[in-house]
Symmetry: C2
């Protein structure tokens, strides 16, 4: 018999790249294992690996606390007889919420409706209605195993065998390029403008469309991906730009895929409020097909491990929603634990509820810590030679730009790597800090960046390490004789 | 702008069929909603919808109880401070298990390793080693969001653009045909032999291979799917057949995809023990590439809503495992709630543990109820005119064969349906019982079947309804004047 080799497999799979969990993350895992081994741990110049490569607030070592309300409800859903023990100890609204959900759902061990539990979809629609001031229909809501599952489904459905173009921002979250590679879609990249705080430029998108409409190309542009607030940029779209994007989708019959998972991650929410694309589309009375994604993994909620989220269809005809329903039914249903998380996300305790004071204190504290940490990191990174960092109003990340010495660039190319990958690898090996090089998100030729999360306890000590490493790196490659 | 229509979408998606949640299930949902409406509920000849279309043991109305040990561990994982309240009330092994997992995992709100939590993969490998008597390596284990997610991944990876043939049993679980349609794979169906208790016949598989190797066809057979115990048939493979299947995979360089999710669902486990393909492959020293799937959704565990499972790679080269790892990393990680479920599945309480007596009583009782219910249903269905039903040793289903009157067949064809679909629709409308017609699983031309689960409290009353309906149906179509 012949042995199976990668050459036997779907070639699309070989092209998939996902840097957030790529080379750097695999190396970080190895170092993490070494630290646990008696033989190796003393050979490393650090005592812990800090995973700044991924927006995973509750991971060990970062330890953003979960919201107590959410977890008490979840515990009661797991083991309903627990109510007898805790009914006089836990807040009344926790008990009431769990009982309401149990009555609707029964056991969390049962498959739910494939689009998600009808009552929770109703609550999502109410949340959207209140957020936007325009109605939302529970039939348009699909609960998902995180936003990624929804994005993957939509791209799978939209990409045909005839070169389907999907406009994606550069830099982007690599889920998009990975999923486009998986389903043989054609990325139509448009650059965000770093000098303008990573602003989305209509001209760039028009230029990308023009390139695809070029005589020699047979690509059909089908959808526009917008990440707002941006990942990795943290940029927040203003309403006039959003309106112009909607008009552009009308003009080119594009489906708008609005990744809005960072809508709660705004550090100055008074000065920079979030506006959803749903609201803009409805206010303009636009007929464009819009799918917006949200998640329980980000914000101050940070419940990544539950795998929960939803997408809302807007102006999507019923026959297409029926196709989406059919596709999600093959996967049976999203995890119940994530669905219950969605309910808590869209229906947090309200003033007057017994859980409200603690919920307010917990969420305020997480917001404040993230905001001050982002500011401090951005200020100190900007003060480093050869580093510039847009201080964005949102998201969990910074995406500093690096001006690297030519000798570092040459040294990297000699081993077949980009210079920011070399930088990130050496940072990891020297400090235990794992970041993702800019090549994973996309950047202009010759530019270098990296993305790091603003999730780190002991931020001063952490930035000290970044600074010390950066200076040593510059010195090392300045001193190299070519 | 042009409005999006189904014709704009990926044509593969339009071809996907998933009968378990198809026409019948959608109709059942509508009836369920009508029963909740004051205006309609009195117009229906039944008071509840019984969802026998899907193996969902814990769903409302079926109410197979969850295992207490599993749920107490899960509740503690959700809210670790709970330990202070329950430490003197809950069994010591529950507390110890939750603390062990918390120490490893930290928060269940954090993403885990994309292949699943290393400690839990180690426990899975230990479970397999003990089950089979051959070693298993945690690096070969991938935790998944249920078995379906694993099957979907493997088919996506194995199917190339060059007509990739996948051998599937008929009848089959429609996940396989649905996923083959999604990824443009070519099903190579082989029929199971109903007169021999749905035995798997090597001759049928050889015939399917011969058809695909036919001069005119350019299909490359790549994998053999075996469902053992069978779904929908409940048939259990004997070891000589398994050995012959492994040799056939060697001969044709086929990857063996072994769907073993019903391995615990054996009603006479002394007479009919389960043997895994992993054990057979190792005992034969065979080099075939094998991927085996297991799940927490079936067995006596029945934790469908958590979305947990795993697959084990056997003889899969490291470079291909690395590709699989890359692909699962794009989806970040399986739900933590499912992963913790897997730990409880593969490490149940042992004799001497405080939880053991209750665990034993709960699992024995579920096994006993399923076995006696299956026997009763099978006996009474076999006593009906025109019904024959293999009394299989395993799985959660029966798949009775129907001899239907020609007039029913004609009436069905007149409305563009198969006669078993007509039968299932009328059964639903008359009794509220939702089953899946045989056309959803595959059958020989001119044959008719339906699949129903053996999950139903009040089995006598339930079978009474089935009998009464069947007799009326025969009468109705016997009396029709053509």
């Amino acid at each position: 018999m012949r042995t199976l080799t990668p050459a036997d497999l779907n070639p699309a799979i070989l092209n998939v790249q996902y840097a957030v969990r790529g080379e750097l993350a695999i190396k970080a895992d190895e170092l993490h294992d070494k630290l646990k081994s008696e033989d190796y741990k003393d050979t490393l110049p650090f005592t812990k690996v800090i995973s700044s490569n991924i927006g995973n607030p509750q991971q060990k070592g970062l330890d953003q606390p979960p919201i107590t309300f959410t977890r008490q409800v979840a515990a009661l859903m797991e083991y309903p007889p627990l109510v007898e023990i805790v009914k006089d100890k836990w807040p009344a609204d926790v008990i009431a919420r769990a009982q309401e959900l149990q009555e609707e759902i029964g056991s969390v061990g049962a498959y739910s409706h494939s689009k998600g539990i009808p009552l929770i979809r109703k609550h999502v629609a109410q949340f959207i209605t209140e957020r936007d001031g325009y109605p939302s229909d529970p039939e348009d809501i699909f609960l998902t195993a995180g936003a990624s599952a929804g994005v993957s489904l939509l791209l799978n459905v939209l990409i045909t065998p005839h070169k389907t173009g999907i406009l994606i921002p550069i830099p982007q979250y690599p889920l998009y390029t990975a999923t486009l590679a998986q389903y043989n879609g054609t990325p139509l990249p448009y650059h965000l403008s770093e000098p303008d705080g990573w602003k989305t430029s209509l001209d760039e998108i028009r230029a990308a469309l023009a390139r695809s409409e070029d005589a020699k190309s047979d690509v059909t542009p089908r959808a526009l991906v917008v990440i707002n607030p941006g990942n990795p940029t943290g940029a927040l779209l203003d309403v006039p730009t959003m309106e112009a994007l909607v008009r552009l989708c009308e003009e080119h019959s594009l489906v708008l895929l609005a990744d809005e998972v960072y809508q709660e991650n705004l550090h100055r929410r008074d000065a920079h409020p979030f506006h959803s694309f749903k609201q803009v589309v409805r206010r303009l009375g636009s007929p464009i097909a819009l799918v917006s994604f949200h998640s329980i993994s980000k914000g101050v909620f940070g419940e990544c491990g539950r795998r929960g989220g939803y997408f809302e269809c807007c102006n999507i005809p019923a026959d297409i929603r029926a196709l989406l329903y059919k596709m999600v039914s093959v996967g049976l249903c999203p995890p119940l634990s994530g669905q219950i998380g969605v309910d808590c996300l869209v229906r947090p305790p309200k003033p007057g509820d017994a859980s409200y004071p603690l919920w307010k204190q917990e969420t305020d504290s997480i917001h404040a810590v993230l905001a001050s940490r982002t500011q401090l990191m951005s200020d100190r990174l900007n003060a480093l030679p050869g580093v510039s960092c847009v201080n964005s109003p949102g998201a969990l990340y910074l995406y500093p730009k690096l001006e690297l010495p030519q000798k570092a660039i040459d040294a990297a190319h000699k081993v077949g790597k980009e210079a920011d990958t070399l930088y990130a690898l050496e940072l990891l090996e020297e400090t235990g800090i794992c970041v993702v090089p800019g090549s994973g998100f996309g950047q202009k030729d010759g530019e270098h960046h990296y993305r790091l999360t603003c999730l780190c306890p002991g931020v001063e000590e952490y930035v000290d390490m970044l600074e010390k490493f950066h200076k040593q790196f510059l010195q090392k490659y300045a001193a190299t004789i070519a």
